[in-house]
Symmetry: D2
Subunit: 363 residues, 4 copies
């Protein structure tokens, strides 16, 4: 089969590789119908994720069809259409029993396209498939559910749920990249009174409004703390979310929040931040961090099914899976391409590449 | 009347001052029967709390008897025996309605002996007495309830409750001063599996065991992180509490906790700490800070009443209220005096000074 | 002044009575600008509420303007525009401190128009005004906030919050009278996947859809249990709410719910229901009852302010306060009049009677 | 092997039957070292549980040693010493993912000794062993953990946790049979202020005190409602638990609870109870029912390990597993034998039959 292989820093290729096979009784083999690329894949390619060894197939977000299952699999059978979670769950360790799958101690967690072969391929081996895949309701397209593999549950769980967004709350989100936008989208499920998006690019803020932000603040132009205080009678936001992953944005989030408020970190950080305990010790704040567990996929699926949630705004490009190398270029150049998420269309995808669509339209 | 007056940095005196009077309809006047001294009083005396102006009467922990109440007071009448909370609550602002009295926006919060006259005196004016004092069950002595004014609810609320200590948990407490000891004592109300006390003084660790620690670690001698990991199969503690107030101990607390665990800050900090987000972002931790609200006084009172909680271990010295100047010296020199909390006995206290007791015994 | 006086079963009149005066330092006197009538007022008139004595002024839902306050009042001053809660809260008893104002032990609870004079009058005395009234943001009309006095918080607190409605849930609401409709409206704040309304009148079900029900079931025609099971793969609803107040509807609610689900009683009951423990003991259900506390008013106000919640669908009629006797007739005959809630417009109301509007339009 | 076979109502025998074998890849075969008898086993024998077919091996509480595991088992290997839960969990259905194993939709739930062969035998097949058994820490005896198979988690989960027992609470427990006693024992983990046991037998109440009740009420002699009201200033208990399973005791529990309190049903009911909604609708009560999930076994194990919980008081008799028929007689005649739980000692049990101990002592 063909697969996108990481050959070491800066080097990837769409190669012919051996088909995956069942290695453990709890494995499933899934034909990949539709996949996508994550910012984390770019991190790996830059060589920033040393535990990913050259030769690994990348990708941890896909929709597919079960081809085969191991003898210990009870929840799926060949032919089932499934969403593949970015998190694998052994289902029997302490953390899995708590639903904290991201911290799985039994061989799961984030392993796909990281410490084992991933899903940017024609087929993939899915360890612990019983607890790591989700059946897709018949009427939903691949594209409608694809972003439940990672980005939506990540924002919803580590931002909205950990931040305990409640009806009427003022929510301030620092950063309007894909994860910040996903937080804007999913925060609306808890009906806050006001969502404030903060970014230093007007282009991103236009997007933030499109995803549902009520107020946007360009913090390269105005003092975000002063602006939020003015909107909140000097108290601060009920919830502040960090969606970038650098010390400055985290520290900004801690300044935006009211006494008794919550600061939810969503960003992936590489260096420490200053925690101003001399100011915060007395302010009753709660700070949360976390890797996604994807336990919310069931809930989010139901909401897509009932028309209450629509992630389709993320799909900026549709490209054939076989053209994944070009797709990486488009995604990496998001500043110019405007890419948020790229829908990689396999042969059996319910989506068609934009080019085909364009050609069909032209014909 | 007589009162302990702060005259500016390093200068205090037991002076004759004017009796307090009712200034607002929600005030009460309380005769102080028994009081105590807090580490925060020493901070003020060192000049570290600039908002406390010279001329202020110190003290925010006392038991007394109501002498008079304003026209708007409904819950107390002269003669009622009351515990005075270190936190005053207006009872009608947003925060008071949430029970977050420490953040009161209506003129309360920590004001006694801070921004208004306190309770180390023969009489005190208690603003918002309806929501700031607690009736004492008849059979309890002053000394049994005195430490509910501040130290016990502080440790219980900002450490045990915020840290969500649950049955079976491993709880690691960094620091075994009065607040750490109060956390050891009150954590037992939630039946953790194991309480680990960490301190660099063996003397403190002996006390920690007396208050209920199951394991003690002298971190001037052993690597506390390694020791906790060994006790917890390499995972870390379920809850880590910071009870000192310096960056090193806070950072240690963040290293002790398992993925999914809680870090509860109890210490009063003067400088920022490093928050190692490059390690913590993925570990699902929750960090809480907070000033005490004292809303737990009702619960703690019931537990003292039913014999389930006994704070008497804290009372290391009993000194006449009139000898408060000497009491400050004993308290400030805790290293030599072994003082944890000093019971200041007024004329009507249910406690008697140790000296009188000693003289009586000698007679 | 004029007021609607209950003269005993079946007898009410719009009488000249003495103006209210401040009786306690925590009282406020409020000029009534806009009021409404509750189904409970009809119950009292039928003589079903024996604790309401003849001579009592009825009404517990109004918007007004503060005229005077007692010496112990700190949160309001003359001229403040306020929403009056149907629940009075002393603010200092055990239940008020927990936010459970409906169970106030200090003289509050549901007293207005019940055990003390109410608000269907030109002026009203509001006991404990500090904790029983809410300042109205300037830009909101009386009509926008009027239904926050009782019906919206009742449905939201005892139905949606007690029923723990969560994103994606299937919610079944038995009864589509005003309280059921308010539950349909406010359940949407928690983004359930599907709201099912059950009633035996098609007219009510049309309204249910207008308020936001996704599925309506006429249970005089179809088997509601079978219909809900079919919609939920045989499991049942996540949450079932009872909004009628008779044993049959309560028992129906208990049959609609899935194992692990919640049954929230909102109805006012006069007789016992059968609780089928022989079926329910093993099904992990949670049943809640409750009187409204109105603590959610702050949240609901914010949501109206931000345009996320619009209760205006309830206002079916606007009648001058002076014509309240006719308004009672219209309200009591809701089957023919189609009345949900009547806006009683005082002289200073931001609403105008329909008649005036019609005349103005005709002119 | 030998096993206790249910031959139909009133008929049981210790028979030679075929050894169990692995039927599914998720099965384990366990040698039974120590087992016990449950009141439910007596119900089956009386023919009250029609879904249990003649020929079924009874028993759902045991400690044993893994002999063999299926190909899909990852958490256990031959030689592991395990506690067998009364609840089997498929680990992958909606309910198992929520930790609500008792409601398992994937073939688990209460099946052992009910709808499939149980554990009162020399060997047993354990379906879904990965999520249905718990490794026993080396230093603990069989007897120390045996009652974690059912009775302790049942009382803790459906009584203490569902009833949300909190520090300082007044807890009233109606019924002092084994389940009521287990509730008394485990409620102490949450440090209530006072545990009140209610029963109509003085003998049971003596036991209740031994297990930790602070107050005992013989409700064949005194009015339990009046007694509880007197103890609680007329308010009622914070939590009332039903531990019998008949309408009268459930209705009593609903009368004992204060406004805002919780009623936790633990009993197995055969007939409906009256729910006095005409009194309860306004009282803010929460009623919970539920089958045990045994998810708390991990917590309870840790507490036994750390010496915080000691279930040994339940072990009134130790009888050889081969003498199980006599053991059933002793257990069924608890009134005369005083039996609470019988420890059935297999050949490899860490416990020895009382007879052997007596003989050894006599020798």
């Amino acid at each position: 089969m063909k697969a996108l292989v990481y050959n070491g820093p800066g080097d990837r290729s769409w190669d012919e590789v051996e088909d995956p096979t069942i290695l453990a009784p709890t494995d499933g083999i899934v034909r990949i119908d539709t996949a996508t690329i994550c910012g984390t894949d770019l991190h790996i390619l830059r060589g920033h994720v040393p535990e990913t060894e050259p030769g690994t197939i990348l990708g941890h977000e896909a929709v597919g069809t079960v081809e085969a299952v191991g003898s210990g699999v009870g929840g799926f059978k060949p032919g089932d259409r499934v969403l593949l979670s970015c998190i694998s769950a052994c289902g029997r360790c302490r953390y899995c029993k708590e639903g904290r799958y991201g911290q799985c101690l039994g061989g799961g967690g984030w392993i796909l396209g990281h410490t084992t072969d991933g899903v940017q391929a024609e087929y993939a081996r899915i360890p612990f498939i019983d607890n790591s895949a989700y059946r897709i309701p018949g009427q939903l397209t691949d594209e409608q559910v694809l972003f439940l593999a990672d980005i939506l549950p990540t924002a919803y769980e580590t931002g909205v749920v950990s931040g305990m967004v409640a009806p009427g709350d003022t929510v301030a989100i620092v950063g309007a990249g894909p994860i910040g936008l996903a937080a804007i989208l999913t925060a609306q499920l808890h009906t806050p009174g006001r969502i404030i998006a903060i970014n230093h690019s007007d282009g991103r803020l236009v997007l933030a409004e499109r995803f549902g932000a009520d107020v946007v603040i360009n913090n390269s132009e105005v003092d975000a703390v002063a602006a939020v205080m003015e909107l909140t009678d000097g108290l601060g936001a009920d919830v502040a979310m960090e969606a970038v992953g650098v010390p400055e944005t985290f520290e900004l989030a801690t300044e935006l929040v009211r006494p008794g408020g919550r600061i939810a970190n969503m960003g992936v950080h590489g260096t420490p931040a200053d925690l101003h305990l001399e100011r915060l010790w007395i302010r009753d704040v709660t700070i949360t961090t976390g890797l996604v567990d994807t336990g919310s996929i069931t809930t989010l699926l139901r909401l897509i099914e009932s028309g209450r949630l629509d992630p389709s705004l993320f799909a900026t490009h549709r490209i054939a899976l076989g053209d994944i190398e070009g797709a990486y270029d488009v995604f990496a150049d998001s500043r110019n391409s405007g890419a948020l998420k790229i829908v990689l269309c396999g042969e059996h995808s319910t989506s068609k590449p934009d080019q085909e669509l364009a050609e069909a339209a032209a014909a």
